[in-house]
Every structure is written in structure tokens, then in C-alpha cells.
């Protein structure tokens, strides 16, 4: 069984019903550590060595956050800046994260059609998250496409929220129990675009 670390960043968590639903569906699962960064570091003073120990003791690292300006909320960027040290995360001797699976679980206001070359945002989610993919690459991690909940500005009905939360839970459980077809998933635009095709039922 793999151990999963969810690094969660949302500066206004109380107002996000979708992140609350996602969080609630997974935070008490066995083998999952849910780490709320804004709650832990309200003053942005990240305890680097603590974060590094956490990463080392888990096999899968998920960044769950809203998609702000095609990127992460600032505390997660601060986390990258500080925690991913040379000779720990990258560099010749920086192999602490090597081989660990990683992906983003993000929520965005625009819907799928907005994130198209002819759409409002000009680029796809997969294109816009390439800096993250490059980071994972430099740290020798196993990158997976983002798990994305789109179109939340139009207001997600409650049934949809429940559906996404359930998908999120299924995805994490499959990863935890080695039941996710990583090779197939890697080629998808989004991790959750066709879950049934990448999860191997036992």
C-alpha cells in the first residue's frame, strides 16, 4: 500500500464548497496524510525540514489547490521555492523525491471549452501546467496529468460536487492500492477524464 501526502493550499478555504467536498471525501482515508498548508503556516514561515521529512515518508505527493492565474496560490509557490532544495530535491545528489508519483488536483473557474486553443484561455490545462511538469521532471518524479474540476464559476450543482469528490476518492484509493494504469493515465489530458479506463478493478 502506498502512502499519499496531500499538500493542500487554499487561502479562503471556508468559501470553497468544492474544495471542502474534495477534502472531506479523502482526508480520513487510510494511508492518506492531508496537510493544510495555509492552516499550518498562516505567516508563510514554512518549516523546511519538517516538510522534507513529510515528503520522504510518503510515496505519492498530491498538490490540491485552486488554479490561480494559471498557477498555484502563493503559499504553494513559496513551498516549492523553499522546500525543493538543491541536493535534496534536485542536483546530482538530490534524489529524495526520485520515483515518487506526483500530480495536481486543481479546481478552476473556466470550463473545459475555455481551456482550448480557440477558447478564452488560449491554452489547455495540460499546457498551462507544464511548469509543474518540468519541476517534477527535475526532481525525477513520476508525473501524472492534473485531476481537474472545471467550470466552478458557473456554480456546480451539489450532485456534481458529490460526483467529483467520489472520483477524487476513487483515484487516490486506486493509486494507493497500485490499481491505476500509470502508463495510460500519463497520456490523458486530465487524470479524471475517463477514470474507469485507467482503474483496474481487482
Amino acid at each position: 500500500m502506498n502512502k499519499i501526502l496531500i499538500l493542500f493550499g487554499h487561502p479562503a478555504f471556508r468559501r470553497s464548497t468544492i474544495n471542502a467536498a474534495l477534502r472531506k471525501s479523502v482526508e480520513n482515508l487510510k494511508g492518506i496524510t492531508f496537510h493544510d498548508l495555509y492552516a499550518r503556516y498562516p505567516d508563510f514561515l514554512i518549516d523546511v525540514s519538517h516538510e522534507q521529512r513529510l515528503c520522504e515518508s510518503h510515496d505519492i505527493i498530491v498538490f490540491q489547490h485552486p488554479f490561480y492565474w494559471y498557477s498555484t496560490p502563493s503559499l504553494i509557490k513559496e513551498w516549492f521555492d523553499l522546500v525543493l532544495e538543491h541536493a535534496w530535491a534536485y542536483g546530482a545528489s538530490g534524489t529524495a523525491l526520485a520515483g515518487k508519483i506526483t500530480f495536481q488536483a486543481l479546481t478552476a473557474g473556466g470550463d473545459f471549452s475555455n481551456y482550448q486553443p480557440d477558447g478564452l484561455n488560449l491554452f489547455t490545462i495540460r499546457q498551462l501546467t507544464t511548469p509543474y511538469r518540468a519541476t517534477a521532471n527535475l526532481c525525477r518524479m513520476e508525473w501524472l496529468p492534473p485531476f481537474a474540476v472545471l467550470g466552478i464559476h458557473q456554480g456546480l450543482p451539489k450532485e456534481d460536487r458529490i460526483c467529483h469528490a467520489e472520483d477524487y476518492r476513487k483515484t487516490l484509493m486506486a493509486l494507493r492500492d497500485n490499481q491505476l494504469d500509470l502508463a495510460k493515465a500519463r497520456n490523458y489530458e486530465l487524470l479524471n477524464q475517463d477514470l474507469n479506463s485507467i482503474i483496474n478493478e481487482v
Binding site: D43, L45, D81, E85, G91
Partner: protein, 618 residues
């Protein structure tokens, strides 16, 4: 003297034995007192036989209680509750008065019927409030409706007292009034009394409103607590004497004084000073109701009294149930509302006495009616029990959701103990976040100014349990302690931990040593009061020296973290070394040395490792 002490001993001993027993049997303290009264009364063990003396006690118990009821009746609260008070309360008094009055008019002259209707429309504030409090129903919506009605009844006593004398001689004096007007005032004892009464009430108002504040402030400034207690008692006893002198119920006078003082910053202090006296006297009051049950009379007129009690309770309950329907109370609350108020009240004793003196009602009638009221009051806690056993279980489901609401509303209550330089800014911050703390302070000058700016500030010694109680410590979520006096802080923390274990504690410490002592008590949210300023000023200093502003900020931030991290270590060392040092001064120096050593070990390199890392490969 010995006679008095003996009597006191009997009363108190009866209460000490009966009340815990009654509570153990889940009967409530009121019923315990009443039973104790019957047992020691003239028809029980006959330990007290002087009914006159018993009645004397009774009077003063009510006086104290009504002063406190008045204190809780802030004019602003009155205003807020004006609809339920005037609407529900007014309808209750009028409807019950009409029903009972009409029923009596069948047998009695109309003046007597009116008097009885008015007097029996009232319910027992003492029994009902005490029982509601014990059951934790005060803040539920039926509890509030009941409270509103009781408030209106308390106010209705004033016009009733004015009306009763008119009923006595109405037939004779109506003509005189028409023919001679104001000139004949002296020949109209009823009117003269009314004017004197109004003057006396006016005096209480003026003194309470304008005289009390400078007086209490001067007393508070002396900082001798007993003097304040003495002043409070003087006030009540003085008003009682004044009222007696003008032929009015002392209870009414102190009640008015209570209302006048309800907005005063000394309310909590007065409340907590009077509360123990009230508690005892109220107990004695209930005992004396029990003791005053005249079993000879009841025996002689058994069926008549049984019938009257049943009629009283049933008429009142039906009227109340109808009112609950008129005002669209939820179905589940109507019965509680009806059960709670279907008894005669302690005002009835006073008013029947008053009616008898004014020759409105004959003595034989008042004696019977006093017994009826006393029995109905005795039955009131039993009716509550009956409600709990028979009716409440069926309503359980509807009740649960509402309760959650209450917790949500009450969950934000914060007590801020100490409103000096530190407390002021904390209070401002909380208010900016939409949280209005109840502020307690011992500095009468502070209290005065802050109240003028609309803060809810109360004067008093915060380490007094009763003051905490009246500030709502039992329901509050958090207490913030910002006292300058460390000993007081420790005392308060201990007090809170002992009596209100649910209350979260946040406290300031004057220095590191004080923080250690608070850590000894298991408090986890402790801030050293000058530390924050030291760090900010340090950051300013670095900036003035030419440090990059963000650099200066980061140093401050990291230093704060390192200091926090080293706290448990220093705490341990401090505890180990304690015995080694002869003087506090020595220990302080040793601790300082330890602190400096620790600081030298702090690795500030961590500060910008990530931002400046030289990567050989890139």
C-alpha cells in the same frame, strides 16, 4: 438574638438537608425548599410556629429577588423584547384577568372580582425563572416567551397597586371626584397615596439614575470590597424602608431600582454582591411559602380549596394555550408555555395583603385565596416534572434541531478580562472581526470612558467567581486574560480551570518567568506582553541600519520561531534550576545567560538557503 439565630439555624439546616435530596430525586431545588418549609412549619415538626416572623422573612426574600430581576431587565433588553413583552405578556394579563374576573363575578361583587382577577393573573417569577434556569430552558424560544410574560407581569404590578385602593371605595368617592377635583385630594386617601407613591418612585428613579454612579465610583475607588457589598445592601434596605413608609411593597421599590441600575457598569458587581444573599433569602422565601400553608384552613375548606386550585390552574392554562395559538408559537412549545405559567405568583401574597389593608377584600377571602395561590405554586414544579415525564419525550425530535441553532449563536461569546493598554487593542481587534466581547475591568476610570464609547464593560474584581458567572462564563467559549498583575492572572486561570473547564484560555504573561508559571498550569496559549513589540521594533531597527526591508522582516519572523522552539527547553532548564538559586534575581540572571547561549546557537543561515543556493550544475 439567640431566638433569631435558632430560627435561622432551623431554616438553613432544613434547606441544606432538603434541597440536595430534592435535586437528587430530580425534583428541582424549588420543590425541595417548599417541602422543607412544610416539614419545619407549624403543621409539620412545628419547629417554627411564628407565622408572623415567617411572613417577615418572606417579604425580604422577595425584595432581594426583585432587585435582581430588575437588574437583569436592561432598558435596552426591554426595548428589544417589546413585542413579546407587550403583545404576549399584555394579552396574557388581560385575558387571564378577564377569565378569572368573570368567573368570580358570578359569586362576588364586581370590585372584588376585578381585584381577584388582577391578582391571580400574575404567575410566580421566582419559581418559574428558577426552574427554567435549572432546566437550561432560559434561552430557548418558549423560555423567552415565558420570560417576556413574567416581565410584563412584573411591570403590571405597578398599575395594579394603583388600581386596588380605588376599588375599595370606588362607590363612595367617584362622586366626590367629579364634584371637587384636585381640591379634595387630602380627603381622598386613595389618591393621596397614589401621589405619594409616585413621588417615592420618582425619587428612586432620580437617585438610581443620577446619584448612584458617582457614589458607586467613589466606593469602587476605595477598593474595599465589603464596602461595596454594604452599599448595595444599604441601597436595598433603604428603598425597602422608604416604600414601607409610603405604604408600598418594598419589593416593587427595589425592582424599580434594579431596572434603573440595569444599565449601570456596576450591574455585575451589584449582581454578584447581592446574589448570595438573594440565593439564601429566596430559599427562605420558598421555605416560608411551604411553612405558610395553613393546613387547618385547608382542612376546613378542603373541597372548596381543591376546586379553586384546579379551577385556577385550568383557567390559566387554557388562557395561556390560547395565547400561544394566537401568537403562532410552534405546536411543540405551546404546552410548555401553558404549563410554565399556570400558577399564582408571590406578588399575590403582597397584593392580597395590600387589598385586605385597603378593605377591597375581606380577610376570610384573602386567607383562602393565599392558600390557593401557595398550593398552586407548590404544584408548579410538579407540573414541570409531569411535563418532562409525559409530554417532552414525545416532542424530542422537534427539539433537537433548534438546540443546534442555539449553540451556533452562543458559540462566539468571549470574555475579555482586563481592559488596560493591552486589552484595549485586543478588544478593538475582536470587534473589527465582528466579535463583541464582554469586558471586565477593575479600573473604574477605564470602565467609565469605555462605556461612553459603547463597549460592554463591567466593573469588578475578575477573580471573583460570581462576577465570572454573571459575565456568562458558563456559556462562553473563550476567556482572554490581559491583567497587568501576574498573581491575579494565575488566580484567574486556576479559577477558570476549576469551574469552567470548557472555557478556552488565552493569557498574557508579563515576562518569561510568568509564562513558565502559566505553563505549569497547563495553559498553552500564552503571549509575553512585550515580546511582540520587541520584535517589531527590532525589525524597524534593522531597517534603519540599512537592511533590506524583506530581509529585516524575515529575520524577525525566523527569530520568533526559534524563540518559540527554544521555549520548552528553557522551561525544562528553568524548572531544574529552580532550587539551585537563592534569589529570584539570581535565577533571572541565570535564565538570561541560558537564553543568550541559546540565541548564539540559532542558525540564521536557514533564513535564505533556498533563495541563494548556489547550484553548481546550473
Amino acid at each position: 438574638m439567640e431566638q433569631f439565630l435558632l430560627k435561622l439555624l432551623i431554616f438553613l439546616a432544613a434547606a441544606v438537608i432538603a434541597v440536595p435530596l430534592a435535586r437528587k430525586c430530580k425534583l428541582g431545588s424549588v420543590l425541595g425548599y417548599l417541602i422543607a418549609g412544610i416539614i419545619i412549619g407549624p403543621f409539620g415538626l412545628a419547629l417554627i410556629d411564628d407565622i408572623e416572623a415567617v411572613m417577615h422573612f418572606t417579604e425580604f426574600g422577595v425584595v432581594m429577588m426583585l432587585f435582581l430581576v430588575g437588574l437583569e431587565l436592561k432598558p435596552s433588553l426591554l426595548w428589544q423584547m417589546r413585542t413579546p413583552i407587550l403583545g404576549v405578556g399584555g394579552t396574557q394579563v388581560m385575558l387571564t384577568f378577564a377569565a378569572i374576573g368573570l368567573a368570580c363575578a358570578v359569586f362576588l361583587p364586581w370590585q372584588q372580582a376585578v381585584a381577584i382577577g388582577l391578582i391571580l393573573a400574575l404567575s410566580s417569577t421566582a419559581i418559574v425563572l428558577q426552574t427554567l434556569r435549572e432546566k437550561g430552558l432560559m434561552n430557548t424560544s418558549p423560555g423567552k416567551s415565558v420570560f417576556s410574560v413574567l416581565l410584563f407581569q412584573d411591570l403590571a404590578v405597578i398599575p395594579i397597586l394603583a388600581i386596588l385602593p380605588l376599588l375599595a371605595t370606588a362607590a363612595v368617592h367617584v362622586d366626590a371626584h367629579h364634584s371637587s377635583g384636585l381640591f379634595d385630594v387630602t380627603t381622598l386617601p386613595g389618591y393621596l397615596r397614589l401621589i405619594v407613591v409616585l413621588l417615592a418612585i420618582g425619587l428612586i428613579y432620580v437617585v438610581g439614575k443620577y446619584g448612584s454612579r458617582p457614589l458607586f465610583r467613589a466606593i469602587a475607588a476605595s477598593r474595599v470590597r465589603e464596602v461595596f457589598v454594604a452599599a448595595a445592601l444599604t441601597l436595598i434596605i433603604g428603598i425597602s424602608l422608604l416604600m414601607t413608609a409610603v405604604g408600598l411593597s418594598p419589593a416593587l421599590g427595589t425592582f424599580i431600582a434594579g431596572v434603573v441600575l440595569a444599565d449601570s457598569e456596576y450591574r455585575h458587581e451589584l449582581e454578584s454582591d447581592i446574589e448570595p444573599f438573594k440565593g439564601l433569602l429566596l430559599g427562605i422565601f420558598f421555605i416560608s411559602i411551604g411553612a405558610s400553608l395553613n393546613f387547618t384552613l385547608i382542612h376546613e375548606q378542603l373541597w372548596q380549596i381543591v376546586g379553586l386550585v384546579a379551577a385556577l390552574i385550568i383557567i390559566k392554562a387554557i388562557a395561556l394555550f390560547a395565547i400561544a395559538r394566537i401568537f403562532k408559537m410552534p405546536g411543540t412549545e405551546r404546552l410548555l408555555f401553558a404549563v410554565a405559567l399556570a400558577q399564582g405568583g408571590e406578588f399575590a401574597f403582597v397584593l392580597f395583603q395590600f387589598a385586605k389593608v385597603n378593605e377591597v377584600l375581606p380577610q376570610s377571602l384573602t386567607e383562602t385565596l393565599v392558600s390557593v395561590v401557595a398550593i398552586s405554586m407548590f404544584l408548579a414544579p410538579l407540573l414541570f416534572l409531569l411535563y418532562d415525564w409525559l409530554i417532552a419525550p414525545h416532542l424530542q425530535e422537534a427539539g433537537t434541531e433548534r438546540q443546534a441553532d442555539d449553540i451556533e449563536n452562543g458559540g462566539r461569546s468571549v470574555i475579555l478580562a482586563g481592559f488596560g493598554r493591552l486589552g484595549t487593542d485586543i478588544g478593538r481587534l475582536l470587534i473589527s472581526a465582528g466579535i463583541k466581547p464582554v469586558i471586565l475591568d477593575h479600573n473604574e476610570a477605564n470602565v467609565d470612558i469605555l462605556r461612553r464609547f459603547g463597549f460592554e464593560v463591567y466593573y469588578g474584581d475578575v477573580t471573583r467567581l460570581d462576577l465570572l458567572e454573571s459575565a456568562g462564563a458558563a456559556e462562553a467559549e473563550l476567556i482572554i486574560i490581559t491583567l497587568g498583575d501576574h498573581e491575579k492572572s494565575v488566580e484567574l486561570v486556576k479559577l477558570v480551570q476549576k469551574h469552567y473547564p470548557q472555557l478556552k484560555i488565552a493569557v498574557n504573561a508579563v515576562d518569561r518567568r510568568a509564562a513558565f508559571e502559566l505553563m505549569d498550569l497547563g495553559v498553552t496559549t500564552i503571549r509575553r506582553e512585550t515580546f511582540g513589540t520587541a520584535l517589531t521594533l527590532g525589525q524597524d531597527a534593522l531597517q534603519l541600519l540599512g537592511f533590506d526591508p524583506y530581509e529585516a522582516y524575515k529575520i524577525r519572523r525566523l527569530f520568533r520561531k526559534k524563540d518559540k522552539d527554544s521555549m520548552p527547553d528553557l522551561y525544562r532548564i528553568h524548572r531544574q534550576d529552580e532550587d539551585k538559586y537563592i534569589s529570584l534575581y539570581q535565577q533571572h540572571n541565570a535564565n538570561l545567560a541560558e537564553l543568550m547561549t541559546k540565541d548564539r546557537e540559532i542558525d540564521m543561515v536557514e533564513l535564505d538557503k533556498a533563495w541563494t543556493a548556489a547550484n553548481p550544475e546550473t
